[in-house]
């Protein structure tokens, strides 16, 4: 290499350093897309809204507690509606159980007695949620 001198070594070194830093910035941008995707997927997969909505409706229904019109068949009630609609439309098993009364499904006994426990369970194959609360 004719005419090669030791001048401008700093310039070359700085260019090298800047190139490496741009390369790392590109890596970070690349990762951010992946992070956005996995976060959105996790939010979509976790049925947070479904569980909140189910709890809301169970409390509302227990509070309303209207007498079932069809008294001849106590298995036809709102708890049974929710269990059936969940499995057909939401791909989730919902059970509303009265553990103090031989683990009877609320479907068989349409309303718990005051002071009893009510067990709420939700399972869609990925997320399993259960909760016990006192019926006041």
């Amino acid at each position: 290499m004719a005419g090669l001198t030791d001048d401008a070594q700093w310039i070359i070194l700085l260019a090298f350093v800047i190139s490496v830093s741009i390369f790392f910035l590109a890596l970070i941008v690349n990762e951010s897309v992946l992070v956005g995707q996995t976060t959105a997927e996790s939010v979509l997969d976790l049925p947070k809204s479904d569980i909140q909505d189910m709890r809301d409706e169970v409390f509302r229904s227990l509070e309303i507690n209207g007498a079932p019109v069809n008294t001849s068949d106590p298995t036809v009630n709102w708890a049974n509606d929710m269990a059936n609609l969940s499995i057909n439309r939401k791909n989730a098993i919902v059970k509303i159980i009265d553990p103090t009364n031989n683990n009877n499904n609320l479907s068989d006994r349409w309303r718990p007695v005051s002071g009893e426990q009510v067990l709420l369970s939700y399972n869609n194959g990925v997320v399993n949620y259960s909760e016990t609360f006192l019926y006041l």
Partner: protein, 178 residues
């Protein structure tokens, strides 16, 4: 004997080659990942927006002290719309909550709502409730749902008949961007 000049040019050339190769690799990876990531993020946002709008509609605005029983005292707009089959009321309120941009006539979101119910003899059934626009079936829509408690079936009972009783129905709304 090998000359010692030109060492820095060699190092520069090698590092430039590596940087270019890795850059090309990153660009190719990024483009293949971008599309699915993008749809997931917007799906999540639309789903959250729809769920929140329905939750707002299913919350009573105030306690109605003259109402008969707990149900009427805390009856939400959504329950009223379903019990009275008030389709235009549902469309107006739901549209107002979703489409916050001005002017209100230019709808950003479209929806198609269906009510699913459980009939004790016929099983699961449904009837169309309200829609803002006819879906072509090719939209990229998300589905949001809400449980609604009805103390009696809606007045013009659709066929096959809903049970005449206190019941919980599932309101399923397909939501898409126009």
């Amino acid at each position: 004997m090998v000359d010692q000049t030109g060492q820095i040019y060699t190092i520069e050339g090698v590092s430039a080659a590596i940087i270019m190769l890795v850059t090309v690799y990153i660009i190719l990876n990024t483009t293949t990942l971008y599309t699915p990531a993008d749809t997931h993020v917007t799906d999540m946002q639309i789903q959250q927006l729809g769920t929140d709008a329905l939750a707002m509609m299913d919350t009573a605005n105030q306690i109605n002290s003259t109402g008969v029983g707990v149900y009427q005292q805390k009856e939400s707009d959504l329950e009223t719309y379903l019990m009275t089959q008030n389709r235009s009321g549902f469309n107006t309120t739901f549209g107002k909550y979703l489409n916050t941009q001005y002017p209100l006539d230019s709808r950003q979101f479209q929806w198609n709502a269906t009510v699913y119910y459980y009939n004790s003899t016929k099983g699961i059934n449904s009837y169309p409730f309200a829609q803002s626009n006819q879906s072509t079936g090719r939209e990229h829509y998300v589905s949001v749902t809400r449980w609604v408690h009805l103390v009696h079936p809606p007045p013009p009972i659709p066929t096959p008949m809903i049970d005449d009783r206190d019941q919980v129905v599932l309101l399923e709304v397909l939501l898409w961007r126009d």
